[in-house]
Each structure stands twice: as C-alpha cells, then as structure tokens.
Amino acid sequence: MKTIAPGRRLLLYLVPCLLASFVLLVYPVYVIRPFRAQGVRELGVALAVTRYRAPIMLALAAAAFAALAWYWRRERRWFRRTAATVAALAVAGIGLASRINIYELMFHPLGPPDFMAAGQSKLDGDEMVISIRVGAVARAYPIRNISYYHIVNDLVDGVPIVATY
C-alpha cells in the first residue's frame, strides 16, 4: 500500500483549515457590507457565523498547530518547516482577525455621556435635537453629535435607554 508523503498529508490538514478560516472570516464581511441589499437568509447566516465562529476557529487553529507539530517531527528541511509554520500561523491570524468587528472599530458609541444645563449650551436655536423626558429628567441629544456616534447608551432617571440615529 502506497504511503502519503508527510508534505502532502500536512496539506490535507492545513489547506482545509485555512480555507474554512478564510470563509468564516470573509463571508460575514461580504454579506454585511454597506451599499448592498442584504437578504434575510444570508444575513441570518452571516450573523450566526459571526456569533459561533470563535470556538470553530480556535479548533481550526489547534488542528493546524497539531498538524504542524506532527510535520516538524518528520520534516528536517527548514524551508518546508518554515512554509508549514507560516500556514499554521495564518490560520491563527485569521482567527484573531475575526475577533475584530469592522463596524465596532469604526463607530464608537459615546459613553458615559456628559450633560450640561440647557441655559449653558452654545447650540444654535435652529439646531435639531432628539429630546426625551423620563420621570423628572428632560434631556436633549443634538442630532449633529449623535449622528456621528449613532448610539448613545445612557441612564435617565434610573432608566437605561439607548439613543440612536
């Protein structure tokens, strides 16, 4: 019976790990991108991938490094060892990259917010604000400010609210 060479056997492990990691990283980015209409099903799949991929990618990285360790014991040529190491590191790197949400990197919610008395504000009278009253507290969120942050997590008279724009 013909045996498979260590290099090919390694590829059988590493290539699927690399491909799977790459798909798990790229698919949500592809689906959830601006100026594109999202389908209900593809959005559901992309969000599910985002939520569940961390342990899968950890397992893929573990498998890649296990294959690498096995390969190092059988392969003495440094060029091949280095190439295999780079591939395994790529699987781990993709896994780490998947922990970054591009939107959360770009848009920072404002918090905790600071407020000033209405009489002290320098806002022009015709500036638009989103206003609320919760219990005894009245607050105004200038639209030009919250349209930058998009999200303001706040606590108004003990009630947690999220102002969005």
Partner: protein, 240 residues
C-alpha cells in the same frame, strides 16, 4: 430611542453592522443583534424580542429649551468636535445613494417622511406636505390623527385627534400669531374654539388644561420606512 433593557437586564449597545442601509446594534451582555429602526433582535439569544420605545421628539433646540428650561443637553466631546456632522448634513444625505427603492410609490428613496405606527396600522406622511400645510388631519388605521408643525417651522408632533371627554372628532385649524387669546396658541379646535399649543394642550377656552394623547412618530427616509414597514400606506396631499 429605545429602553435598553429586557427582562430586567440592562443592555449596552454597539453599532455592529448594517442591514439594507439601516444599522445593526450588538448588545454586550448577550451578543444579540438588533435592528435599529424596529428595535427587534434579529439574531442571538434574544432573537424575536423587541425593545420598548421611549417617547421622544425631534425639535429645534430653541423649542425644546423653551419647553424644558431645566433640561440638560448632551455635552460635546472636545476630541470629536471636528468629526461631528456639518450643519447641512441632512441636505448632503439626500444625495447619498440607496440600494433599495420603491419607484411604484412615486416617491424618491430619500424623500423625508413622518412615519407613524399604531392602532394596528402604519402610515407615512411626506414631510414636505407638512412643511407646506403646517397641519395635517388624517387617520392612522381607523383613528383620527393630527400632525402639527411647530412655530419654528421645523419641529413636528403628532397627536390622537380626539379630545378626552368630547364625543365628536374635532378638526383643528392653525391660528395666526397675535390673533389668539393665548400667546402660546398654535391651533384652534372646531368643537368649541379652544386654543391649543404645540404640546397638544388646550391653553384657552372650555378645554383649557386638557391635553391630546401623543402618537409616536419618526422622521425617516421613504426607502427605510417602507422597507421595514411593508404594510405602510402613504398620505397623499391634495394639490391646491
């Protein structure tokens, strides 16, 4: 504006994605994803749950300050001031492309609408119609509603057009400044000629002290409102 709480659990949100040009929020506590305009969780442990709407207004600062002199305003963050939108940001946004449109409606995708959702129905009113007519009397489902433009020409409020305690459905008319019994008056009703202010409360006449019930509204682009409220109807202004 949403109450950031589900079953007593406080939620803190991040902007975490986009769905048909309306952003998605992710809560830190459960990792669930929420649609901004509907307040509905679309993925995660809280999928299917809805945030509770918090009553809010979109007003000019001057109008709000006159109504709430003891109120507080969100402070600018010095490091971010240069990043805030320009004052004409809303005009610039009208030119931004959209990936969704409803040409059969005859409305441009970025037509600004006043969207109402309640009484088992959704209905959208072109903001331009309200800016022109100042007052719109119509129905949301089977209930009469009243859309009012503030004296500042920008602020908008919507009311249930029924006077508590009155049997008939009133009509409301815009009154001219300087020709009213109360300086705060903006409207007059057809029942007994009481005058009403922008907060929906009678300030002179037989109904003094009575307030109309508020109807929550949202200013939104037509494509966004229509997409997330597919059953919506549209108010068509009578052409003069």
């Amino acid at each position: 504006m949403w109450r950031a709480e589900v079953d007593g659990l406080r939620l803190r949100f991040h902007l975490a994605g986009i769905n048909d040009q309306n952003f998605l929020m992710r809560d830190e506590e459960t990792g669930s994803f929420w649609q901004q305009i509907t307040g509905a969780a679309v993925s995660g442990p809280l999928a299917g749950r809805h945030l509770t709407l918090v009553a809010s207004d979109e007003l000019t600062f001057a109008t709000w300050k006159a109504e709430e002199p003891q109120g507080t305003v969100l402070h600018e963050r010095a490091a971010d001031i240069s990043l805030y939108s320009k004052k004409d940001w809303d005009v610039r946004m009208l030119r931004a492309p959209t990936v969704i449109s409803y040409p059969e409606s005859g409305l441009p995708p970025r037509e600004l609408m006043i969207g109402l959702h309640g009484f088992g129905a959704s209905r959208a009113f072109p903001l331009a119609a309200l800016l022109r007519d100042k007052v719109i009397q119509d129905h949301l489902g089977s209930e009469p509603v009243l859309l009012v433009l503030g004296a500042d020409g920008h602020s908008v409020r919507v009311f249930h057009r029924r006077i508590p305690g009155a049997s008939s459905t009133p009509d409301f008319y815009r009154v001219l400044a300087g020709q009213t019994a109360s300086p705060a008056a903006l409207l007059m009703d057809s029942v007994d000629g009481s005058e009403w202010n922008f907060q929906g409360c009678a300030v002179s006449g037989k109904a003094t002290g009575v307030c109309l019930e508020r109807v929550e509204s949202i200013k939104d682009y037509w494509f966004d409102w229509r997409h997330f409220n597919p059953a919506t109807t549209v108010f068509r202004a009578k052409q003069n």
